[in-house]
């Protein structure tokens, strides 16, 4: 090879290498946070406001604070359509970019990621969804599902029903409780608990599964409700299932004050049924509305600046938008904690897992964030990746949801042993399930 050719080769190599070096430096100075979202498809009605809330919070941190700890966040959405197959494709596509956390936003997508998380060293945040037993940090060191599991939620609803009946949990004896649910991993998750508790507490459970293809066609299920006459109805729905269920309940003249949902219905789900939906209830653990300094900042730095995808300003502060805010608060605080523990700026997935285990968002920290009074304190540990926090019941008044109960703690005495047994059964079923090797930082 002549000198001239060597020179060309060297120049070409330099040209190819330099961007790679810059890329590596850029990567080192940023934190990659993929968001699995669904803005299209049958579940977009629920997915879109959550995606907006999640994205807007992280955008605010970049725009207002320059990221977290001086490191910019690289936020990227991957559209799953609430489809497990697409969700797994999203996971494989983001994996090479070294994400510090993944948020599947689907119980169906979360379940196959559980065994992958430990291998790929990417923590999974399935916020109040996914496998309830993954709260057990000793068995599932890479999975986090605060602030409450679907099992916790079910027992919180049962306790609310008992108080409505004028007493303790023994008041459920002899009652007939209907459970209408999306016939998918999410809706089936509480079934073992329902079977167990119906025997222990003496209530009769009537199950009304709704296939995804029939979400908007629930007349058969509600005819069965009319025949069975359950004393209370519990809803675990998602997407168009919730709106249709509320409409069908109104149509069937089911008493709305006895229709209680897990924490997923939105304002739109109740609004469509008109005045008849007044009194419809759901669980929640955070405020509704935009009257918080953090949300004012989002309005100013993100929405008004045209960096949000919300269709109108009044969407900021709605239930599922605020749910997305809560989710991103957990992500951001876990990254911050990881930086604090490791002393590094550009943290990795392994660091953020430690950050999640050390998560301690107390009232003072909520005030600093600009979310004072928005929600309760959150503290996780190596053993408890959920916290099993209290929730409250909110009721639809025709315009918005109003808090109508005190905070209700889950029935830990009932759920705890079942979670232990389920975690153990999961490990045995997936043997050889690795014993926890990750050290515990939390004090």
């Amino acid at each position: 090879m002549s000198f001239k050719n060597w020179l060309y080769a060297l120049s070409a190599a330099a040209a190819l290498t330099l961007p790679a070096v810059h890329g590596a430096q850029a990567q080192e100075e940023s934190i990659y946070v993929p968001l699995f979202t669904y803005r299209t498809g049958p579940f977009a009605g629920s997915g879109t406001p959550i995606a907006n809330g999640m994205h807007d919070y992280l955008t605010l941190l970049n725009e207002r604070d320059g990221g977290i700890g001086g490191v910019k966040l690289v936020v990227e959405e991957c559209e799953t359509g609430y489809d497990t197959k697409k969700g797994l494709e999203c996971y494989e596509s983001v994996k090479p970019k070294k994400p510090v956390i993944v948020n599947p936003w689907s119980t169906g997508i979360t379940l196959p990621l559980i065994p992958k998380a430990a291998v790929d060293k990417i923590p999974v945040l399935s916020m109040a969804y996914g496998l309830s037993a993954s709260a057990k940090g000793d068995t599932f060191p890479w999975i986090f599902n605060p602030p409450a599991t679907y099992w916790d939620g079910f027992t919180q609803i049962l306790q609310y029903i008992a108080t409505q009946e004028g007493g303790g949990i023994d008041k459920l004896k002899g009652k007939k409780i209907g459970y209408i649910y999306l016939d998918a991993s999410f809706g089936r998750e509480p079934l073992p608990l329902i079977e167990q508790l119906s025997k222990e507490l003496g209530f009769e459970a009537k199950l009304y599964p709704v296939a995804a293809a029939d979400m908007q066609n629930q007349s058969s299920q509600w005819l069965s409700v009319r025949r069975d006459k359950p004393d209370y109805m519990i809803l675990y729905g998602w997407g168009a299932l919730n709106a249709t269920a509320v409409k069908e309940a109104v149509k069937t003249n089911y008493p709305m004050e006895k229709f209680i949902s897990i924490w997923w219905p939105s304002e739109d789900d109740a609004k469509g049924a008109g005045d008849g939906a007044k009194g419809f209830k759901t669980l929640n653990w955070h405020a509704v509305g935009a009257d918080f300094p953090l949300l004012a900042d989002i309005q100013k730095h993100v929405v008004d600046a045209g960096k949000s995808q919300v269709s109108s300003k009044d969407k900021v502060g709605q239930v599922l938008y605020n749910r997305g805010i809560y989710n991103s608060m957990l992500i951001a605080e876990a990254i911050r904690k990881a930086q604090e523990i490791t002393g590094k700026k550009a943290v990795t997935g392994e660091d953020v897992r430690r950050g999640l285990e050390g998560l301690n968002i107390d009232e003072a920290r909520l005030k600093e964030i600009g979310l004072e009074g928005f929600t309760g304190a959150v503290k996780l540990s190596c053993a408890d990746h959920n916290g099993h926090f209290s929730t409250f019941v909110q009721s639809w008044n025709g315009t918005t949801y109003e808090k109508v109960s005190d905070y209700i703690a889950p029935m830990s005495d009932k759920v705890g042993p079942l979670l232990d047994a389920d975690a153990k059964a999961y490990a045995e079923k997936n043997a050889p399930w690795p014993a926890r090797a990750e050290a515990c930082d939390a004090s």
């Binding site: 299209t40 977009a44 599964p209 296939a211 007349s219 069965s224 995808q309």
Partner: protein, 324 residues
Amino acid sequence: MLYNIFIDPFVQMAQMPDLLVQTLWEGLVSGVLYALIALGFVLIFKASGVFNFAQGIMVVFSALTLVGFYDKFSAAGFSGHVAAFVALILTAAVMFVLAMLVERVVLRPLVNQPDIILFMATFGITYVLIGFGEMVFGGDPKQMIASELYLPSGSVDVEMLGGLVSFQKIDIAAAVIASVMIVGLALFFQKTRIGRALRAVADSHKAALSVGISLNQIWVIVWFAAGLVALVTGIMWGARSDVSFALEIVALKALPVLVLGGLTSVPGAIVGGLIIGIGEKLGEFYWGPLLGGGIESWFAYAIALLFLLYRPQGLFGDKIIERI
């Protein structure tokens, strides 16, 4: 077990006849609406031999366009019945433009290509409409402007057979409007010159061309008709739930109807829709609890396949005998 399958459901029917009537009514309403969706598929298949995979998203797109136009009028200070009907006319115009675009951009360049290519092209139309719809209207669910379109609300409760049977006014309206539309389309097919041309195209493209029928014109008309069917379907299903991309999967309910009624028969779509609608409601209500519930989605296919065992050509299809 045998008692639960063969005796108990009929005992329940006799003991609670009011619930039987209610179930039959719900099945009838669903059946008419399924027939409407199936009709969208049948129209396009008859005229172009294409199974239109995009029919479901056309339901979503038309409903979102209608609500979208109305929202724009409301934002500009015009709301109420007049705005709703202007939005309806504009949406019909959009569906006409869509039909022209499909003919010009998709069908015309693919003429004489194998059917499977045209079928795959309808996948393309589906994803373009999903993306375009999401970009323009967003993923938020919207409320159908039912009252603005003079669609009734509330119910008519009738005491009968020792109980109360509730007929939702919106369901009565849906059944009437869908029936009128189905009868209108059937007459259009049978009695008008364009209808005869459509049937000629369905029989043979080449023969139709040889007698001077414009294939392009027929395709535009038939896709426009399917667009209008999609619009009515979107309004009716949207009023029963909400207007969102979830409406797309409602179109799946037409598949067992098509299995039963055939892809080329308008009466097949109607009778098939009614059999599937009533059959699945009775199945879910009386036999569903034996299987843990939620059997409706596959029970419809079971009914269709059971019929095909005895009548493989479908309800109104001709028995095809090929001599070799």
